[in-house]
Amino acid sequence: MSDEFDKKIEAKADTIVDAGSVPSGSVPGIDYVPAHERPDQELYHSHSWWTTYVFSQDAKYIGIQYAITAIGTGLIGLVLSWMMRLQLAFPGLGILEPSAYYQFITMHGMIMVIYLLTALFLGGFGNLLIPLMCGARDMAFPYLNMVSYWEFLLAVLILLSSFFVPGGPTGAGWTLYPPQAITSGTPGSSAGIVLMLISLCVFVAGFTMGGLNYIITMLQSRARGMTLMRLPLTCWGIFTATVLALLAFPALLVGCIMMTLDSLLGTSFFMPAMISMGEKLSYDGGSPLLFQHLFWFFGHPEVYIIALPAFGIISDLISVHARKNIFGYRMMVWAIVGIGALSFFVWAHHMYVSGMTPWFGYFFATTTLIIAVPTAIKVYNWVLTLWRGNIQLTLPMLFALAFIVTFVNGGLTGIFLGNVTVDVPLSDTYFVVAHFHMVMGIAPILVVFGAIYHWFPLITGRMLHEGIGRIHFWVTFLGSYAIYFPMHYQGFVGVPRRYFEIYDSPYITTSTLHLNVFITIAALIVGAAQLLFLFNLIYSARAGKKAEKNPWKANSLEWLTPEMPPGHGNFGKELPVVYRWAYDFNVPGADKDYIPQTVPPSEVRSAKVEKT
């Protein structure tokens, strides 16, 4: 960045106190805002290629680094799922050894949930959007933010290195339940599981640094006039998810630390007395159930750590592309906060068949059904936002619509599974696989795609290719239904999950086996469509159509930077001043169908917002 610009920023810090003051004796005008009370943020200015692009302290670059790392790791997870599907469809070919199947299942689950979705939503979109949407020059602690990314990368590398150690990666399932996770006989029970646990600890440490930045930036460095209730819902989603993550990840950390000690030192935190291969092990008295409680005390909020940013982003996409203010903004915020609070009281619905007291299950079934209420409110509000909106069927909108359908679908099966009596027979079948892939695999990934199509111009200054995008959308949307709808049926028939081969079981009909082939082919096609998407990203970043400024005619601050893509310091010389919320679309009396957040009242005197 040029020195001149740096000087301007510094100069601004000196003169800030006078900006906006009213000349004595005059009446404050309609646009009057009092002067900013705090000095402008001191920014770190990089001077070399390394500190600009590699060890960057600029949240936008860190966000992109997070996104690329997360997507790259996610591609490995995708390939693992292909291998598993091929094994299930064509067991005769012997594509995977049983142990490899379990290892792939474990790595696929862990990669997708934590290293792809959590890192992408919070690390990627969080870093990119929070400072821009709040009207800040950068995150509160840029250096810590940089360290957060490098710790994430380190965690990914440790995780992937477990493919190359003796015994391979852990095959304990992504839930890593002891005692089997560290007992011989489970793939990767020595080196693999330890690397997994260490990787998770590093991830949590890195995330805590990032999370600290996200919430403090949102709380303390917003632009003038930006109250919490004027923030776009994306910010609310990411904010609440970060709070959840800061409170829930410690449970994972605690579990990981104690299991690492069980594995390396031979303590018995979780390991009961047991006999393995005819020999009594030295463990005694540990409680495997304790680990399950710790894991799911993290694991269930984790679902919402992914879902809440998705909810927030989708609200913004729907509002912008339907040219209508979000229906029930306050209710949406309450629902996000309410879901966040409730998510800490439902964890044991993952443990109905774990051997805990069954009466416990009824308490958790009740809380689980209660959490469906705010979730349903959100769905109603999205539909009501669309109602009589000026719906633009752009790519982000298509993905947003697909998300609503998919989320409702996965949510409804969740209501089935939340009940103890229904869950017990279904819990080890493909019904559960179908449920959680719909609600927390496909639905958030559709949001990720929608968000990338929406914010790609902000990052690169170019639009993604429309035609390729439409092919990508329809193949992904229809294809994922082709994959997961049949799995619901398979679950009802009783096909067990986690089996690497079904063999000739008398109760499983041939048609079920044929379905497996069908699902695998659909999965291969959907996966291939993602390669098309990657091609689109690379191609459009270099040669895509130049985007005009604010291409979607949105109101929120990230589109209102002086240059697009935004430069170092985001907002040029002057920080923006905010006069309204982010949803002033089609306000009666206004000239245009949108009023950006920085437009002062004097410019839109005729616009009248209905009194509620």
Partner: protein, 210 residues
Amino acid sequence: MKKEEGIFKILSQKPWEASQAVIDNNHDGKTFGISKAKLGVRTIMTVSTVIFSLFIVAYADRMLIHDWRSMPEPWLLWVNTAVLIMNSYFFHKVKVSADQNNNKEIRIGLYTVGFLAYTFLIGQLIVWYQLMSLDYFATSNIANAFFYLFTTLHGLHLLGGLYFWGKVTSKFLKGDYKLSSVQHAIELCAIYWHFLLFVWLVLFGLMLFT
């Protein structure tokens, strides 16, 4: 301008209404009237509290099982506890002298707290050594394992604090600082030290009475 409205008041605002807009335009974009660093320290303390609470829950759950055999508390632990209390007390004194801009006392105070903190850590290591020479290993009983775990985690937290203590001290000794920033940094370190003392008292009490 009024700051720090209650969460329910904030959540019930109607940001789209003209009357609310007039109020909102006056907002300076800050939710709490404290510095970012202070909010950061508070957040970190919250996260640490969650971590230690979960360990305590695990401890409470695990001690009900038949193989639990309590461990003796060596008298040195009481000495270490006293050192940590003095450490916290002296940090408070440094904070007071920093507020009064008393350079000499700040320097002596910073040295004292650093010395006490390292004394505490070395003391804890000696306790480990004593226990191990009496055959109380982490593997011999789960109560011992919890003891080593708690002391390690608490020690690591203290080392983290010492990193920031080192930063403040070197900044101060070089003389290259703004007074307000050093005062603020010392205040935050002091808060963190009091927090670690509190955590230690809880953990020590837990192990003493069970």
